[in-house]
């Protein structure tokens, strides 16, 4: 295994592991705060029980997120020292701000988890709100840094060094706004659906259980609203990528030849040698609409770029389709549930719909993993798009497969433990 491949795999494993817990850290506090707000308003102890149970799950997920995030902040330097030596001063600012947001989140999560009997109910609820807001801010700041790697701004390159560095201009990079919205909605949708699946499972056994009915209602509201908004943000981010990173966009779509009135290709097999995507389901004109809001617009194909600047097309294209497929399914299931809820004026609790929700539980997380694959693999061979190649950034340390195997086994082990603990924790009804 080459050092570059080992480093890339270690980064992929670390990000792929961390993002699940980071998403929980962003979205779980919102669920907790909603449940506790309902308790304050109604004085119904079921709501308090729900907030507490969700808080306990959050504690486990947040702790693993905090330590795996620490690993990432070191890995930036351990694996990509030349990248950090170059980029640290340019895109470090959002990381510094993220540090403070994360600080706030950790402090008030401590108050929230351990302070039920130590602070007033109102102060306790506000702690939950602060955790939810600072969690979302943490996520936004990290995504700003990633946006800069996709569309670097705020510096010039002079003799291989960065000059005229302007960290504010770097934060104002064109990729950030749509990436932030897309990531936050993804977090709420994925977590809402995952939590909904758990409570749907419990309701299938005990359909009148008030605890699980309320839990499902909150989770469906949060997850459903986000899932319905996500296609709009997806359209926004697609147009942004088409404009600022046409090579990534072409890879996402398996789009080799530049053409006007281009179709969207769903699935298929990308054939690099023949420069075409075979056996794909084609929707005429749709790609031109997606990229430029005009059915006859020309969409730049991969052929316009030297092959050495292509990302791995097959991986990016399939990951993109997987992400979109999951997102469409979640939005459709939400619409269906909303229609049934509106008709019956109650929680959509038909057994078949609960089964459908259980089946949809993992879709959001799968979409997030696939989406980050699109962003990160789609940026290859660059670590900073158009500025620095990933191969030039990797650590000179020999034998990088050793830390890769170490970190991966650690995370596989932790992943099993978390699933085991949460399984015991969540698949239980109070009283």
């Amino acid at each position: 295994m080459s050092n570059l491949l080992a480093a890339r795999l270690q980064m992929a494993v670390s990000l792929g592991f961390h993002i699940v817990f980071a998403v929980a850290g962003m979205a779980m506090p919102l669920l907790m705060a909603i449940a506790e707000r309902r308790w304050l308003a109604t004085k119904d102890p079921v709501w308090r029980e729900l907030a507490q149970r969700w808080a306990q799950g959050t504690a486990i997920l947040f702790a693993v997120g905090a330590v795996s995030g620490t690993v990432l902040s070191f890995e930036l330097g351990l694996l990509w020292p030349s990248f950090m030596a170059f980029a640290g001063p340019i895109f470090g600012m959002p990381f510094a701000l993220e540090g403070f947001a994360f600080f706030t989140e950790a402090i008030f999560l401590g108050v929230y988890l351990y302070g039920w009997d130590r602070v007033s109910p109102r102060a306790h609820w506000w702690s939950g709100v602060v955790v939810a807001v600072s969690g979302a801010l943490s996520g936004a700041f990290v995504v700003i840094a990633n946006g800069w790697m996709n569309t670097p701004t705020g510096f010039r390159v002079v003799d291989g060094r960065a000059a005229d560095i302007d960290p504010i201009a770097a934060m104002n990079n064109p990729a950030s706004p749509s990436e932030i919205v897309h990531m936050l909605l993804a977090a709420y949708a994925a977590l809402g659906f995952a939590v909904a699946a758990i409570h749907a499972y419990m309701l299938r056994r005990d359909s009148r259980n008030a605890f699980h009915r309320r839990a499902l209602a909150v989770a469906l509201w949060v997850g459903g609203v986000a899932a319905l908004l996500q296609p709009l943000s997806g359209d926004w981010i697609a147009k942004q990528v088409a404009r600022t990173q046409p090579v990534k966009f072409a890879a996402m779509e398996g789009h080799f030849q530049t053409e006007a009135g281009a179709p969207i290709r769903i699935g298929g097999i990308t054939d690099k040698a023949a420069r075409r995507t075979r056996y794909a389901l084609e929707i005429p004109y749709a790609l031109s609409v997606l990229a430029h809001a005009n059915p006859h617009a020309r969409v730049t194909g991969l052929e316009e770029f030297p092959e050495t600047d292509w990302p791995p097309v097959g991986v990016v294209h399939l990951a993109f389709d997987l992400m979109v497929g999951c997102g469409v399914a979640m939005a459709a299931v939400t619409l269906l549930g909303a229609w049934m809820a509106w008709r019956a004026r109650q929680l959509p609790d038909a057994r078949w719909y609960l089964s459908l929700l259980i089946a949809c539980g993992p879709l959001g997380m799968i979409a997030i993993e696939a989406g980050w694959t699109v962003t990160e693999v789609g940026r290859q061979p660059w670590i900073i798009h158009g500025v620095m190649r990933t191969a030039d950034a990797v650590s000179p340390m020999p034998g990088l497969w050793v830390p890769f195997v170490t970190v991966s086994s650690l995370y596989v082990f932790l992943g099993f433990v978390v699933v085991f603990l949460l399984r015991r924790h969540v698949f239980a009804s109070p009283r």
Partner: protein
């Protein structure tokens, strides 16, 4: 007016100090969990868990701040350190991951006692090994073994840290963290027997800190000559040493006399002075003997912005931290 890079070097040292005083003591608590014995072993472990629970994650964030400030303000120094110290840092990270997750798994496991005990053991062992790795990294930097040529690492990935001096500094870190934890814990309980347990531990670990510190100084003469001359020969060095020593002796005397609040202040001062002594002895080098803070600093405009962000963030952070500690540390609890 002090140059901006000096302010940022100071901010990094301050964050590291906060990390040592907070998270260091949390690791020290894990060490006492590992070493819990006698009729009150279970009560000792429970006290430690209660003391750490609400605050360890906030304490942990100081380390992230150190890392971020390093790469924003001193990017080439950061890249050099992450390359040279790849191996011990990876050990430290594994320890950090296992300590944090095992502690949470134990607290929230809702599983049998036997499994909780296993997680308790993982938490405790990781609490012992992580500070050693951290100390090894600090010791390696201080020893001056990380050499560069044309800005690139000019030494191997093992011989810089796989040496006696870094490991003695690792032991010093463990002893210091355990000492801090024991001193803090005397104030966390109103059970006199438990308080006595940690008083005895504070006295013992305080003596160990002194012994290991002398061993480190003696070794430094040969293995870390730059540090040694900074600590021993610079003007004012004697004063610095005297201040650290008086705090150490004063802390032990206060523990002996059961004046625990005073002991806590003195122990904090002692730990901070040990860190600042290191920083002061290797000033103006970030990675002695080849890389200064100045030479690795980011452009002034960046440093100014980062400082502004630090001030603004601090205005948010300090009241929040005060609130956290007032909620959980105002009165002893069980």
């Amino acid at each position: 007016m002090m140059p901006l890079e000096h302010w940022l070097a100071g901010a990094i040292l301050a964050s590291l100090t906060a990390y040592v005083l907070g998270a260091g003591a949390d690791f020290g608590g894990g060490v006492w969990d590992l070493l819990a014995f006698g009729p009150r072993a279970r009560a000792q472990r429970t006290l430690i868990a209660h003391a750490i629970g609400p605050i360890w994650e906030a304490n942990h964030v100081w380390l992230i701040l150190v890392v971020v400030l390093l790469f924003v303000a001193f990017p080439t120094g950061f890249a050099l350190l992450m390359t040279a110290l790849h191996v011990p840092l990876t050990f430290m990270l594994v320890g950090i991951v296992l300590r944090g997750s095992a502690f949470t798994f134990r607290s929230y496991g809702r599983v049998s006692d036997a499994r909780q005990e296993q997680w308790g053991r993982v938490f405790a062992v990781a609490s012992l090994l992580t500070p050693i790795a951290l100390g090894v990294c600090v010791g390696t930097i201080a020893s001056g073994a990380i050499r560069t040529r044309d800005g690139r690492l000019a030494v191997g990935f093992f011989e810089t840290w796989a040496a006696p001096f870094p490991f003695v500094v690792g032991l010093l870190a463990v002893a210091l963290f355990a000492f801090l934890a024991a001193v803090y814990l005397t104030l966390e309980t109103d059970d006199p027997a438990l308080c006595d347990d940690f008083r005895a531990r504070a006295l013992a670990s305080g003596v160990v800190v002194g012994l290991v510190a002398f061993a480190a100084l003696a070794l430094a003469r040969r293995d870390a000559p730059g540090l040694y001359s900074g600590l021993a020969a610079r003007s004012g060095a004697l004063l610095f040493q005297a201040a650290t020593g008086s705090c150490a002796v004063g802390a032990l005397a206060a523990i002996w006399q059961r004046r625990f609040a005073a002991a806590r202040v003195l122990a904090i001062a002692q730990a901070a002075l040990v860190l600042w002594g290191w920083g002061w002895a290797q000033w103006p080098y970030l990675v002695p003997p080849d890389l200064t803070f100045e030479a690795s600093a980011a452009p002034q405009a960046v440093l100014g912005l980062v400082l502004a962000a630090l001030v603004a963030g601090g205005l948010l952070l300090v009241p929040s931290l005060v609130y956290l500690f007032r909620v959980f540390k105002a009165a002893p609890h069980h």
